[in-house]
Amino acid sequence: MSAPLLLPMATTVGDPKVNIAIFALFVVFTLAIVIRASRNNKSAADFYAGGRSFTGPQNGVAIAGDYLSAASFLGIAGAIALNGYDGFLYSIGFLVAWLVALLLVAELLRNTGRFTMADVLSFRLKQRPVRMAAAISTLGVCFFYLLAQMAGAGGLVALLLGIDNRAGQSLVIAVVGIIMITYVLVGGMKGTTWVQIVKAVLLVIGAGIMTLWVLAKYTFNLSSLLGAAVDRSPAAGEKLLNPGLQYGATGISKLDFISLGLALVLGTAGLPHVLMRFYTVPNSREARRSVTWAIWIIGIFYLFTLVLGYGAAALVGPDAIRAAPGKANSAAPLLAYELGGEILLGVISAVAFATILAVVAGLTITASASFAHDIYGQVIKKGQVSGDGEVRVARITVLVIGAVAIVGGIFANGQNIAFLVALAFAVAASANLPTILYSLFWRRFNTRGALWSIYGGLGSAIILIAFSPVVSGKVDKKTGASLSMITDTNIDFSWFPLDNPGIVSIPLAFVLGIIGTLTSKEGTNVDKFAEMEVRSLTGAGAEKAVQH
């Protein structure tokens, strides 16, 4: 075992040329796969759902690829390295949440829908208003999630290429955006899925090697790793291992912890880009298998993040992480450099880049499908449009969303991405999950209930975030620096005390769904409900795989 390397205090870590070369290799390799996979892209089912021809295990790996975003890798490792045990809640919440998807949503959704979440929500309610609402909330969730990923791209670039001026970082964010747009336009869902698969395999292997390496340094004794992390973190000390370092300070921060826990566990089953992945398999049994595979991969990966986070605290140290350009988000790359020098750093960074690229591609295809299929195809054209026409609109939407992602990423640059993703989860859990569950399981549920729940959940979540300390008015007590998105400390329009809105907006959306339903005179569409219930449980009449 080698002695720990001295960490350079310069802004660049490793050799930018190596980093760029490894990343370029990945882009070329995956682009080749995308082009190969796209040869059979003909119909709308091909573009949106990869022809429904992926197997359960393939889709499970792709789901893991979609889900293990930069937030999971960079964000959680950083959160654990700096905030200790409180960062571990992200891992646990993100994993347990999959049980909601497995037990209540995945198979039933696969059996009733075609391309998007809105297909299921509007199945037995008034088509146009519900579809519109579901599409708007899909776009909203995708936007927050995109923001998080692009912010991560900026921080990573800052670290790896030594670009610490905003203009240079913005340029690289734009390049990442353009590569992603190319993937989606060329490959559709099929190409995107293969990128997810390749990336998931690389990510799990990369994180696995680092985990074993860290453990080997402590003779596979978790307790001595934890001890070393404590020794290296004099400011936090013992508290690094105990709950409460980040959230235990006040009654308000404790509520924030519950709010975060709620958003994490209920968010996954409402994430539109995850839900859309269930349509890429031929039937509900394969949907079940894919979730099972995803749960195993995701669970094992999150166990790695525990070791990586404490490993970064022990081997890199919190001061070096805070001083690095990407702050908490750079804990994992710094750890890679500490362990394996510039080659491992290059590989891990390329994997992290690939992660961002793949997740952004998945989000973009979901958002574009939702706009083209739901808003353009069903609401504007009332279903009187060919699949080709829809796909053309979807492709244009991809360009627009790509541009939005680039601009948003430039603004959000520098925020902790696990935290930004948690906001996306809060929006998904508020706006989508109540309506999904009600329309699957509650006979009486009707259009007004759906609209109140979706718009109420979406609106309250976004309003509470806008007036929370995340956006304005959070100041570091020691340094006086701003911790909010608006970095001018004179601007403070926050009145909602919590960072995460989940504890208010999620129950509110559930209650609004009930009140809206009970105050509406609209009766249940008995035949449509019968069709939905029978199809969801038996799989009769479900969309079949495309034959080529």
């Binding site: 809640l89 347990v96 307790s223 001595s224 105990n242 709950p243 912890f257 079940r288 038996t538």
Partner: protein, 114 residues
């Protein structure tokens, strides 16, 4: 068990509504809900118990068990174990107990209502 084989092409099952009201389907739905709802309640209760303990009982959670391993870490890893266990249980139940009956009904419907 209610899944006594019925002659294929049951003339009574002409619409989804007929299927929904049939005893076979009611039984299928009842069994699905009897597995899935309690399981959901169980894992959510266990998860929130963990969150609340971490939040409001840090003293208990910080209790050392051996070396630097404390109660919080064990309970956190316990969430992983329970998630894996519930996944295995559900998949086994769904593959063996639920799918055959669902397929049986599906075959009847797709043969008749379309």
């Amino acid at each position: 068990m209610s899944d006594t084989p019925r002659a294929a092409g049951d003339p009574e099952l002409t619409t989804y509504r007929d299927v929904q009201l049939s005893p076979d389907f009611s039984e299928l739905r009842r069994r699905f809900r009897r597995f899935v709802f309690p399981m959901t309640g169980l894992f959510l209760a266990w998860y929130f118990l963990y969150v609340l303990l971490a939040d409001y009982a840090p003293g208990f959670m910080s209790h050392r068990i051996g070396g630097n391993i404390n109660v919080a870490l064990i309970m956190g890893l316990g969430q992983f174990v329970s998630t894996f266990a519930i996944t295995l249980l559900y998949v086994r139940w769904a593959d063996q107990k639920f799918d055959p009956d669902a397929k049986h009904l599906r075959d009847q419907i797709e043969g008749e209502t379309k």
